[in-house]
Symmetry: D3
Subunit: 318 residues, 6 copies
């Protein structure tokens, strides 16, 4: 018997075995070996309600072991299209301070981008999209934002950088082009209509969940594709876009949301866009039941990975 | 710093803080200060299967903290339209006897009605609708009844007042007009067809869940509106109308039920009716998982509150 | 007071009482008294992922107490159409060996068939369908297979008889006619497309879940009826055909699956076929939350029982 | 293969198999075949706090499957000393009325006693001990009462027969001799000291939990043995005598209670008394976690069964 | 029927009813009406590991409904000895900044102290003891500190005010006299011995859990009494002093801890000290199972309340 | 920012971060770099009751993140005394066959031993100790066996190698010296006394749990030390030695067991023995609640690691 380092997990082994990495991909030994770098952002210092997303990356890794290679709907095998690696977690040293933490996230993402590794982050609360966009967007890019909340409100408890505001900040900082931004699945009560109003006023296309249910995910995906065109685009997926029965393990659940089937059809409708990065956020394992949220997060991360791997390969062949 | 009594919770504070009242409204200090009085009926002495709805009001209060003010679909803010107060719970002194307990519920509702407070009760098992109707209905009124069960069966274990029979009793007692009654979402096995037969024979419109799924909630809501017209109408919402995955925390779950999205569309289709009271019943926290049932109960109670507040304001302006 | 043996449970008693048998039917005292024999196969020795289906029969018995007699949609009362008995569980003596265990399952099913008892098994992992088919199929029969997985892959960990392969084996052994086989609800990642390819190449009709969601359960049921015609047909229902929120308690959950409502419509569309047996498998109570999976399993087993009892009665009257 | 009725479970089979009876004993076909009759009382209509003990018998049956035959400490095998049978549950027909329900319990126990079957009931709330004592005690008998609560308070919500009062009633009705009564493990807050005062004034020996912890279970058992002597004695075991971590699944948990090890030592110190019946009450599965309460209930019921079987055999040989 | 405001809950009502306040005491309408003010500090912004203590006050309120008036061991009824009120929660406006949050806590405590209300806080993470001590300690006071951790480490992630360091800071700021400080129950791994070393070097008496188990809670309580004498003393109780099975719902569980019985004996051994305030911290409901931690927290808070009420009354009579 | 491979986790980072390895030690890149190799055996193919231990290694890794470096009782820091590495899991290829699986375990252990890596396995069911002993014991060695079960019964369901028999086989195969074997914590019912009789007859010292509770862990540890002397000794720790409230997540729970504090004292009493390997087995996450079992497993594995690291260092200095 020869020793095989567990840093290189085997996707063909029984799925309950081995050290849990994202999708059972190898652990990166060097920065350069990766085409797509999945990494965790175990941070929940900017949320406004129920905590726990700091535990998200760990549990998404755990449940992602259930994923296998080939997508039954598209027959894509992302692991054949790109070198995908688990880059570990952003190493925090100032986690009690929102802005300092965001700087550490940005630095980590910058490190990947400089090495030409496409970043795919697993959060963490939604505030993390802002520092990721700061690292990625050299000029305003397009945004596909799937979420129950528009996340364009303003300060809460004295902080402009809370998890309900990242995309207002991103517009203000010139990181995203609001006219090339689509928000899908929006719903739930708010204390004022301020956030929804900002989204509308800035030119974002806001698809409330009622419209989403009525038109269906394929139509909405088509609209998103048309809107975004071939601009560089960032995809941010908040697990609370799903209905609370599909994602009880999140901080701010809102009834009336998407099913996982709808989310799959939506994501599969977003192939061949010019992705420059992605995140999946707000999985909060302490509030989960039966790991259904972490499993949904892992399975939708797999769908996103198919999107990213496909575009990586196309770029490689250009 | 000045002391602010926690009897007046702050809807803008972080949602995990403060003493839990329904929707974080103030606790009534006097009877008269309320336009709409939310109150709990922590009673499960008349149920026939799994217990626990006595804990319903407490947990719906708890989860209702997640609600905020403005409805994203209708843009209604019920707290601006009416003075809404938490009136506490019906104070029981004879909880081992079904009929004595029902008298205590009726007396509490009478107290509210005499003070011109619109009653909105959170149960409790479904038997409580009968004493509430006794207090409210001076002549036969219309009924919108959303439930998995017709609740028109007869005696069980020697009692005519069990939670499977309130609306048969209400017809017999002349509290509701069966030809102005619609039952929506009915399904699940029964030992005999007796209850369904009573509903049909008395002239009620019974929408089984298969028909509901086929026609959709908006069409069914339209039919209910047409049926009820401008008669005084009572709205009773049994949480087991939802599918068991949306409401595992209930005594008699039946698969094949509504989604919360369907329930929202249904309720939002019932605006501008002549409401004289409402209840939401059968949330059983001991059987809940991850509080999804209490959360759904709270969020649908919020939708019902929007209906009641809107009609209150219109009456005030007439 | 006269003693009544608890071996004859009372379907009219409160549902939380008495010893739990399948659907609260009497326990068989003799083999011959039954027309339809429900029995448990508490076996999970051939699964490849998360275990626990050995506990399935016990919990399906437990939750099936919530079932009553009359089907609200079809108004069938299966207990009036056939003598239904709980036959207990397959008594294992070699549970550590897959093939020996399968022989014991086959012998038990043979015992029933020789006594003209229609077998309806509650698993257990899906490998058990193979020995059941060996007992039932004297020549190739039709198969209606509802599942997330085609279960036509090949060896895993050295065994051809694992729970991912029973229907490939059944084709090879001439137990089922693949051109009279329909697989409904297929989805989820695989390491290779080998299983899907086998299903297609052998002539099976494979309905992936996307197609199922698009066409709807009634249309798919109609297609299944047309395909099967009046051939002897076996119905195998894998609980993981349901979405993980409806069936978290299973070994290999795949997001994007059926709702229980869809499953009910599908099953009710399959009346009047020439059933020779059935199973419902892969309920894994240790992974369940709030017993929703066991409850769904029990309620769908009730729907299947309606199908079997109806055909039994028709045969009895021919 | 020969058919073996599942009414006769096999204690040597894998423990997760077969229909769940108490301790996997056969289901009684006749009244007379039993020496000791275990039966369920799925009743919680007289409790004052959290409900759910109606589900106790079902889950104690379920978890008792984990029990095997020989007691490691005493080497007693109760199944060799007496014919033990599962008699099913008390069949209720008036469960909404406390006194009517109690009469039905009494009638069931009388039926057993007339057939010379020693009754061993699994509850249910603690109010059930009163009707059992009415059936058993033809003159005042001794009582060993293990519990967190003295259960000698008086009326609550208008009923003298609530689960906090059975032993006050039993003294008043001349069913137990308070000077031959010992209450062990008493603790927890009360609104007044009335119950404790009644116990003391009537001559009961009350061992508060602090004394129990200090002297240890063996010493307290010795004292109980000395007090009771050879009088006919009834043993009533309330699961809330255990600390809430050993028995979270109960209606009125009180911290600072017994460990299961202490309970075992206590019960094993009570051999060779003149038992005339026993009960184990207040297991409430809806509040249980990980089935630890039902398991503890089953394992302590096994210890009690050893006591009863041993005395049965001795009587048989006299 | 007369309206009774639910702001004045009734301790004699069924315990599952009414709005949940601490121990079912009235909600304070004014600051002055209280002798002892219980209040919540829903803050977990300074913890270093698993979050969730922001939900602590809410759930301790909920479970404290199970408490009644009279202590069975001491026969004290605290509600007769002092006016105890629920003062609500500290109203935060800067919860993302540790030091700003601490200032808000200090201001709230100051408000109580100025009104001569003895503060008894329910946390929240353990960092909150520091601002409470800042409000209370005009000169160095004695400290009884029951905990798994000495909480005398230093900076973590750049903050000196994290929940592992409050008592190091309190010594440095001259709030506590380390030679009049006793730490009880200390255990668990640390990355360095720095915290333990600080405690020892500053003159604190540190009782590791092994010594605690060996000597027993009564002996340790006696030592604490002797050490503290009649100095003003603050009592801080960290729920993680309990073993993880008694308190799974906490951020940093350490096996080998106290039982609730030991904690009760310890606290009851601390009567008649010169208390100037108290807190109970680190209950984290999202990690709780079956509410056992919240229940233990509520029951130990009741014991502390007995200590405070007794000393209040004595002062009043002086 | 410089890239640091997540294969080298940082024990000083927040404990909820990074890829989960045993105790946050680095992942072995080569076989030779390790002095002590922790590895998982995700195998439950030989158990006789409730399954799930295949998930044990994964969850013990997860919970072991909560461990830090220094033992508060002994002040040992095992990570300074030896190079400890996570070697991954035994790679199975024949998991459906008990004996083939055992060969693969033996081969993996042999690989470590040949490289002079001390094996410390995390199971998995207890059958795995047999192949580990086959690899380790070149002649009969001493055994310290902490467990609820003697595991010296014989065949079950046709297999001699089930998890109730490994130490009977180990005696028969000459792997352990029964007169140098001590079994600690034995309890629970058995169908016959055969296993206990074998242990006694072969000369093992069997400490039933009653004796353990009476004498205490320190005295039993001292006896074990005296018995074993300086023979090579293997330590096997079955998590079900703990009481079910400390370890609900196991297949065969037995009430009346050890506390974690007792287990710690017992293990700390076993320093300076001549260890040649160890295992910790029977953690079954699907049956766990609140991760308390995995946490206890991780914390006791840490204690065992201290024993192994200390002896490693002493050997290195000889």
């Amino acid at each position: 018997m020869e020793f095989k380092s567990p840093a290189k997990p085997n996707q063909l082994a029984p799925r309950f075995t081995e050290i849990a990495t994202f999708m059972r991909v190898p652990i990166a030994q060097t920065l350069e070996e990766a085409d797509i770098g999945m990494f965790g952002i175990p941070y929940d210092g900017a949320l406004t309600n129920r905590p726990g997303t700091r535990h998200g990356p760990r549990e998404v890794r755990n449940q992602s072991s259930l994923m296998r290679a080939v997508n039954h709907a598209t027959r894509i095998n992302p692991f054949e299209l790109a070198q995908i690696r688990d880059m570990g977690d952003v190493p925090f040293t100032r986690m009690f301070e929102v802005e300092a933490s965001h700087k550490e996230i940005e630095a980590f993402a910058n490190m990947l981008i400089e090495a030409e590794v496409m970043p795919f982050a697993i959060g963490g609360d939604h505030s993390i999209s802002l520092p990721l966009l700061r690292a990625i967007a050299k000029e305003p890019i397009a945004l596909i934002h799937i979420d129950a909340h528009a996340d364009t409100t303003d300060s809460f408890q004295g902080s402009k950088f809370n998890h309900g505001a990242p995309f207002r900040r991103a517009v203000e900082e010139g990181l995203i082009d609001p006219t090339k931004t689509i928000q899908i699945g929006i719903r739930g009560t708010q204390n004022t209509s301020d956030g929804w109003d900002f989204s509308a006023a800035s030119g974002m296309r806001v698809v409330f969940c009622e419209e989403f249910h009525e038109k269906g995910p394929a139509a909405i995906a088509a609209e998103a594709r048309a809107l975004v065109g071939d601009m560089p685009v960032y995809l941010t997926y908040d697990i609370d876009s799903l209905d609370p029965v599909y994602a009880p393990g999140t901080g701010t659940p809102e009834i009336g949301g998407m099913t996982t089937h709808q989310a799959q059809i939506l994501l599969r409708g977003l192939r061949d866009l010019n992705y420059v990065g992605a995140d999946l956020v707000e999985v909060s394992p302490p509030f989960d039941v039966g790991d259904v949220t972490s499993l949904a997060g892992a399975a939708l991360a797999y769908e996103i990975l198919c999107l990213l791997a496909e575009v990586h390969q196309k770029r490689a062949f250009e």
